[in-house]
């Protein structure tokens, strides 16, 4: 193999200009593809981080059937021992317990159906950074008997900090639930659908309201690295067994996931076109190279070199060329990605305002993740192998007599 590498490397040096042009075309393709993907995925990463860390989380654990029928028939008991047992993976950053249900909220002459979330303030604030969204008043304390309202809901019910919220609902095991809660604070939630209907209570207060002692409806699982989502979901599902359902955000926020898939997919189509052009570039170079060296390859076959070995030699040359382009492309893209990862593009004007309203930072950061950078390299290598198919067939069909005829 060493001999092939040596010959392949020297062959690349034979027509330096052509080698440089082909390497440059691969370099630019990898550079643009990597940077484009870095921003494209960076936007989504930012969006998902904001959306998922505002409430849903990457993973949720429920009693089996809860996702389909969100009612108190699908609660499960929860204590610290169970929590410890669930730390099955080092990828799990935190477990955030919730008791979630619905209620009819009222103030004065106005009523509105609302989502009630019973939360553990310490854990919830660490996960969803709720305090950063506080618009008025103060956050709930661990033993607080009051409520935290979303801004639009408070506006609709004409409630201010210090006012009293009245809620009625159906509690655990068919009991009636009714309570009054002083408004401690108002938060501005990113998504309007949440901002229109959220009421936060502390977990003990919610349990008391719904007569659901020690029960939970939801356990949000926060991950250290989102790329471990499927793996962690599988592990948890295995540990918990069939009485529980472990759902990823893709299963819970299906519309968002579809949007993500179609957007990322259309990005891949564009990349595919870019790579197709590069593929033809490599193919053209290869065919030119083969044509120029027809006599030489004829001599090699004549003196006893197996066509298989000639094919390996040609392939080594092209793979070396591709590798060179890939490495240089990634080397050129990395500083750009690093810079924009640490110094995101800051948006201004209406776009920035819209993002801020949705609770998102008005900036586009570049995603810096080895996975997709590696994929660019693999894509170019795959294209190289595809471009090699016909030239390799040509080598196997090479007739030494014809090749030696000038």
């Amino acid at each position: 193999m060493k001999e092939y590498l040596k010959m392949a490397w020297r062959n690349l040096g034979r027509n330096r200009r052509r080698t440089a042009i082909t390497t440059a075309s691969v370099l630019f393709a990898v550079f643009f593809a990597t940077v484009e993907q870095s921003f494209h995925l960076g936007i989504w990463h930012n969006l998902l981080e904001n959306v998922l860390h505002s409430y849903t989380g990457y993973l949720q654990i429920h009693a089996s059937g809860y996702q389909e029928n969100k009612n108190f028939d699908y609660t499960f008991p929860w204590n610290e021992d169970t929590e410890k047992a669930l730390h099955v993976s080092k990828d799990i950053k935190a477990l955030i317990p919730r008791l979630e249900s619905f209620a009819l909220a009222s103030s004065g002459e106005r009523t509105k159906p609302v989502i009630v979330a019973g939360i553990d303030p310490g854990k919830e604030y660490g996960f969803s950074h709720l305090p950063e969204k506080l618009a008025q008043g103060k956050m709930l304390e661990p033993e607080d008997q009051g409520a935290l309202l979303s801004r639009r809901l408070a506006e609709y019910l004409k409630l201010k900090v210090g006012d009293t919220l009245l809620m009625i609902s159906q509690g655990y095991a068919g009991t009636s639930a009714a309570g009054i809660f002083p408004v401690r604070g108002i938060v501005r939630l990113p998504a309007p659908e949440w901002d229109n209907q959220m009421v936060y209570l502390t977990l003990p207060t919610a349990r008391q309201f719904y007569s659901a002692e020690n029960m939970l409806t939801t356990l949000v699982v926060d991950l250290r690295n989102p790329s471990t989502l499927e793996k962690t979901a599988g592990k948890l599902s295995h540990t918990l067994g069939s009485h529980f359902e472990v759902l990823t955000w893709k299963q819970m926020l299906t519309e968002l996931y579809q949007q993500y898939i179609s957007d990322v997919g259309s990005g891949y189509i564009l990349l595919g076109l870019l790579y197709l052009i590069i593929g033809f570039g490599i193919f053209g170079t290869l065919m030119m190279m083969l044509n120029e060296r027809r006599y030489e390859l004829g001599v090699m076959t004549a003196v006893g070199m197996k066509k298989r070995k000639i094919a390996v030699l040609i392939s080594t040359e092209v793979v070396l060329l591709a590798f060179l382009g890939i490495l240089l492309g990634i080397a050129a893209a990395l500083p750009v990605m690093l810079w924009f990862h640490h110094h995101p593009v800051t948006l201004s004007g209406t776009m920035a305002k819209t993002m801020e309203i949705y609770g998102m930072e008005p900036e586009i950061p570049a995603l810096l993740e080895p996975g997709f950078i590696f994929k660019q390299g693999i894509a170019v290598l795959l294209l190289t192998f595809m471009a090699l198919v016909w030239p390799v067939i040509s080598v196997f069909r090479l007739s030494p007599v014809k090749a030696l005829r000038r």
Partner: protein
């Protein structure tokens, strides 16, 4: 001792729907240690005959037996192996691998034969010495003159100690001095190492050195003469 035997050898090509008979019903044999020139005008079938003997091309009919092996029965891959282990080729010109040095070119076929490095090095040094190019071992073909390139080509052909060497107009692109030197060198190797040389040529200098001259015309043997030297 006979090493090559051709029996009723015929080769026809089809070019633009016209059938061309390049070699027609040739029966010949070659003994070990021969220094033979195949001569004839262009299109007489010299190169085709060499290609057939070297297993580069397959006959339309007839038999080529080399050391008891009938080449017509070998597959393409077996023919490649046959060429690797039995035949040394010298072509008209530019037949060295341009990215390899003179020494690496000589070692190339031995490398294909998976000969150990030390053996390759030793043989290449011997041959570089024999062809008078020991001081150009590290030069690439582009840095060598036409005559020097052909010397390296002969050394490469000799490196794996083949049974015979087929040289297709080896002096065609050389000046008279280089051609003379090359011929003397090949004659010496033939005399001292008993290597069989079969040339195709137009060159009177080659014919002068040859001990046997086979004249072809229209794909047929016109004369087969032993020259007494």
């Amino acid at each position: 001792m006979e090493i090559i035997s051709l029996k009723n050898l015929t080769k026809t090509y089809r070019e633009d729907s016209i059938e061309v008979t390049a070699v027609s019903d040739i029966t010949l044999s070659f003994a070990e240690g021969e220094f033979t020139a195949i001569v004839g005008p262009s299109g007489s079938g010299k190169t085709t005959l060499l290609n057939l003997i070297g297993g580069l091309d397959a006959p339309t009919s007839g038999e080529i037996v080399v050391n008891g092996t009938n080449l017509a029965r070998l597959s393409s891959s077996q023919l490649t192996d046959f060429r690797l282990w039995n035949v040394g080729f010298v072509f008209q010109a530019y037949n060295l691998i341009p990215v390899l040095t003179a020494r690496e070119n000589i070692e190339f076929i031995m490398h294909l034969q998976n000969k150990p490095v030390h053996e390759r090095r030793k043989r290449a040094s011997e041959l570089l010495q024999a062809v008078g190019l020991a001081d150009r071992a590290k030069s690439r073909p582009s840095k060598l003159s036409g005559g020097q390139q052909q010397r390296v080509a002969v050394a490469r052909a000799l490196a794996p100690r083949p049974r015979f060497i087929l040289a297709d107009e080896p002096t065609a692109n050389l000046d008279s001095h280089s051609a003379e030197n090359l011929l003397e060198m090949m004659e010496k190797l033939n005399r001292e190492e008993n290597i069989t040389f079969i040339f195709s040529t137009h060159d009177p200098r080659v014919m002068k050195k040859a001990r046997r001259i086979i004249t072809l015309e229209d794909g047929k043997v016109l004369r087969d003469e032993q020259m007494h030297k």
